[in-house]
Amino acid sequence: LLAAVVLSVTNASLISQAPLRFIGLQNFASDVFTSSFLKAVVVTVEITGLALVIEMPVGFGLALLLHMQLRGHQLFRSALLTPLMLTPVAVALMWRFMFNSDLGIIDYLLRQLHLPAPNWLADPVAAVFALVVVDSWQNIAFVMLMLLAGLSSLPREPFEAAALEGASGWRMIRHMTLPMLRNVIAITLILRSLDLLRLFDTVYVMTQGGPGYATTNVGYNAYVTSFVFYATSRGAAVAVAIAVLLLPVYYFWSREGRRR
C-alpha cells in the first residue's frame, strides 16, 4: 500500500511537474507572448464567456424545473443527461455535418423560417457561435446535474415558510435559492470554466482553429505550435503559459474547496 501511494505521487509528478519545468524554463525566453498566442487567449475567453452565459442560466432553469418533481421527471432527467457522456469527437463530427452551409439540416431549417443562414464554419463570428452551441448542447446537462444535486440538498422548511407568507416564486429563487446555492454554483462555474478554457477536441474536429485563426483557442494554439510546426519546445512554453493563466481559476477553486 505504501508503495502504491509513493508510486502514485512520484508518477504524477514525474509526468507533470518535473519535465514541464525543465522544458519550460529553457524556452520561456522565446516569444511566448506572440500576437498569435494573445489572439488565442482572446478567442478562448470569448468562447468560455459565451458558453457560460448560455450554460449556467439554462442549466439552472432546467434544474429548477426538474426539481419541481413533476410526474415523469426521472425520465426527463435521463433524456437530458444523454449528451453529457458522449464522445466529444463524435459529437463534434455530428454537428459539423449539421452545420454544413449547403447540405446541413440547421441552415435548411433556418432558411425555411426565413432567418439568415450563415455559412457557420466559414464565418469567423458564426464559427465561434457554432462551437459555443456544440459545447452548450453537450454540457448544459452537467450544470443541470450539479445544481439539481445542490437543490435537493437544500432544507425545505424556509421555502414552505416563505410560501405561507406569500412570497412569489421569482422572489424565492432570487433571495433564497440562489444565495443558498452559492457554493454549488461557484464550483460548477469553475469546473465548467476550466473545461472550456482547455477546449480542444471540438475545435479540432469542427473548425481546425479556422476560419483563419478565428477559433484558434489556447489549447489548439499549443497543439499547432508543437505538432504542426514541430516547435515542441515552444509548444511546451505555450503550455506552461496556459497553466500560469489558469492559476487564478485554480486559486478560486481551492479557496471554495476549503470553505466547504
Binding site: 500500500l1 463524435a90 449547403d102 447540405l103 481559476v249 485554480y250 477553486w253
Partner: protein, 275 residues
C-alpha cells in the same frame, strides 16, 4: 390552483423543448447513418421516405483501419481503467486509514492534477515518450491513460470510501483480519456501487480520450476517436459513413450510462462537490 396548473403545463412545455433539442441531433445523425449517399445529401433533407440501408455500417466496419482502431480502443480502455481504479482505490484507502508520510501533499497533488489541461501535459509527454522509444504503442497508451486517470479515480474513491464507518473495519481487525482482508472482504463490497460508478466514469473518459492518442500514436495504436476525427478529411462527401462512425463510437457509452445511471449521477456529483 389555476396558476399551479398553468405553471405545470409551462414546465412540461419547456422540458419538452429541451428534450427535443437534446435528442434531435442524435436522432438526425442516426437517420443519416441509415441513408444511402444520395438520400443523405438530399435537399430538402429527408425525414421519412428514404430507403433504409445498413451499407454505411458495412463500409465502416469493413474498413480495416476502423476495426483495428476499435480493438485498440477496447484494449486500452479496459486495461487503463482496471489499473487506474485498482491503484486509485488502494491509494484512497491508504490515504484514509493508514498513517502515511506525505498525506497532506497527496491531497494537494490530487486537487491540482484535476485542473491541469491535457495539452499542458501532452506536449512534454510526447517528448518523453519519443525519447524513451515508446511512441505509437498500445502499452504506452495504457500507461499514460492510467496515469492521467489516477488522480480522478483516487479522488472519487476517496469520496466513496470516506462514507464507510471505521468501526466496522476496526471490529474486523480486532477479530484478527489483516488489512488486506479488511479491504477486500469489507471495504470493497460496501463501496461497490461507488467503485462501479468510478469504473464507468473512468472507462468512458478513456474511451472518449482524443488528445493523447492523437499525439502519442501514429498507425499501430490509433484509437477510434482518432480514426473518426480523421473521417472529416478522408470522407467529406460520405456523410452516411461519417454518421455511422459517430454512432458506433457513441453507442457503447449510451448503453453503459443508461444501464447504470443511478450510480453515475451519484458519482458525478460526489466527485465534483466533495472538493
Amino acid at each position: 390552483m389555476r396558476i399551479r396548473m398553468r405553471a405545470r403545463i409551462a414546465a412540461y412545455l419547456v422540458l419538452s423543448v429541451a428534450i427535443i433539442t437534446t435528442l434531435a441531433p442524435i436522432g438526425w445523425t442516426l437517420l443519416t447513418s441509415l441513408k444511402d449517399r444520395s438520400d443523405a445529401l438530399a435537399i430538402p433533407p429527408k425525414l421519412v421516405g428514404f430507403a433504409l440501408t445498413l451499407v454505411n455500417y458495412q463500409n465502416v466496419l469493413n474498413d480495416p483501419t476502423f476495426s483495428a482502431a476499435a480493438f485498440v480502443s477496447v484494449v486500452v480502455t479496459l486495461f487503463s481503467t482496471v489499473i487506474a481504479v485498482a491503484v486509485g482505490t488502494l491509494t484512497a484507502y491508504a490515504f484514509l486509514r493508514l498513517r502515511v508520510v506525505g498525506r497532506a501533499p497527496l491531497n494537494l497533488v490530487l486537487a491540482g492534477a484535476r485542473l491541469v489541461p491535457g495539452i499542458v501535459l501532452v506536449v512534454p509527454l510526447y517528448v518523453i515518450v519519443v525519447a524513451v522509444g515508446m511512441y505509437d504503442s498500445i502499452p504506452t497508451l495504457v500507461v499514460v491513460y492510467a496515469a492521467l486517470a489516477l488522480p480522478f479515480t483516487t479522488w472519487l474513491a476517496l469520496a466513496f470510501l470516506r462514507e464507510i464507518p471505521v468501526e466496522i473495519e476496526e471490529a474486523a481487525l480486532v477479530d484478527g483480519a489483516s488489512r488486506l482482508q479488511v479491504l477486500v472482504r469489507i471495504v470493497v463490497p460496501i463501496a461497490a456501487p461507488g467503485l462501479a460508478a468510478t469504473t464507468i466514469l473512468t472507462a468512458v473518459g478513456a474511451w472518449n480520450e482524443f488528445l493523447v492518442p492523437a499525439i502519442l500514436s501514429e498507425s499501430n495504436a490509433r484509437t477510434l476517436t482518432v480514426v473518426v476525427a480523421g473521417f472529416v478529411s478522408a470522407r467529406t462527401v460520405d456523410w452516411g459513413s461519417l454518421s455511422a462512425g459517430a454512432i458506433i463510437v457513441m453507442f457503447p457509452i449510451v448503453v453503459l450510462t443508461f444501464a447504470v445511471q443511478r450510480y453515475l449521477v451519484a458519482g458525478i456529483s460526489a466527485g465534483s462537490l466533495n472538493g
